[in-house]
Symmetry: C2
């Protein structure tokens, strides 16, 4: 089982993160090994702090309006290895060790398994290979 | 100069993309070579269609409320090599050949050049090395 490693963000860094009218910031999740973009979800200030402290991705579920620690139900936990905030502070990026079968509820490794252009060949890390 | 290659998306694929209350969808841009996540910006239905047809990223600038074809002013054009939509159709991913010095208006290659955790060492493709 992968190890959870907290990230020691300081208050000055956290203060640079800006939230939208709903108090949310988009969080991109990238596979630390394959570098595939796995998914995008949303965090609020509380779940960002939880993510960094616990070393696992914790999101705010907009549909369920509740804290959603990725993998607690599915087993597809994400162990954070690096975390970044962007130039404007309005988007986050997490490099993770993806546990379980993949990041996507469809069973695909990445949520981005469908390329535009019917004849397009997806890159290996985005291929539709099931878990 | 990199070549612009249109992506022949069909209407059925485009119909799977969902837009928020403002008619926008987040678009993640990833470097096709280094696999670094370069930036995140927003598209509407019009600029998504323009992006695929022109083979270059075209966003909707929320601050300026106008069509923003990346690089027309800065020279930092993005030539699309692959384009994906996610399982829910509410996030897009573009793998691009980044022209010019980088994707970020700060002069960094990626907008995600600052890791949380003051002692954290960013991955090479996210390092703060200026253009």
């Amino acid at each position: 089982m992968p190890e959870a490693t907290p990230i020691a963000a300081n208050d000055a860094e956290l203060a640079l993160v800006t939230y939208d009218a709903n108090g949310l910031v988009p969080a991109i999740v990238q596979d630390a090994e394959t570098r595939a973009v796995l998914m995008m979800a949303w965090m609020n200030a509380e779940t960002l702090r939880m993510s960094l402290e616990q070393g696992r991705t914790v999101f705010w579920s907009r549909s369920r309006q509740e804290v959603w620690r990725k993998g607690d139900t599915s087993g597809d936990r994400q162990f954070i290895r690096e975390a970044y905030y962007d130039c404007d502070g309005d988007t986050l990026l997490f490099l993770v060790e993806q546990d379980g079968g993949g990041a996507c509820h469809t069973g695909n490794r990445s949520c981005f398994y469908r390329p535009f252009g019917s004849e397009a060949e997806p890159a290996p890390e985005y291929s539709t290979a099931a878990r």
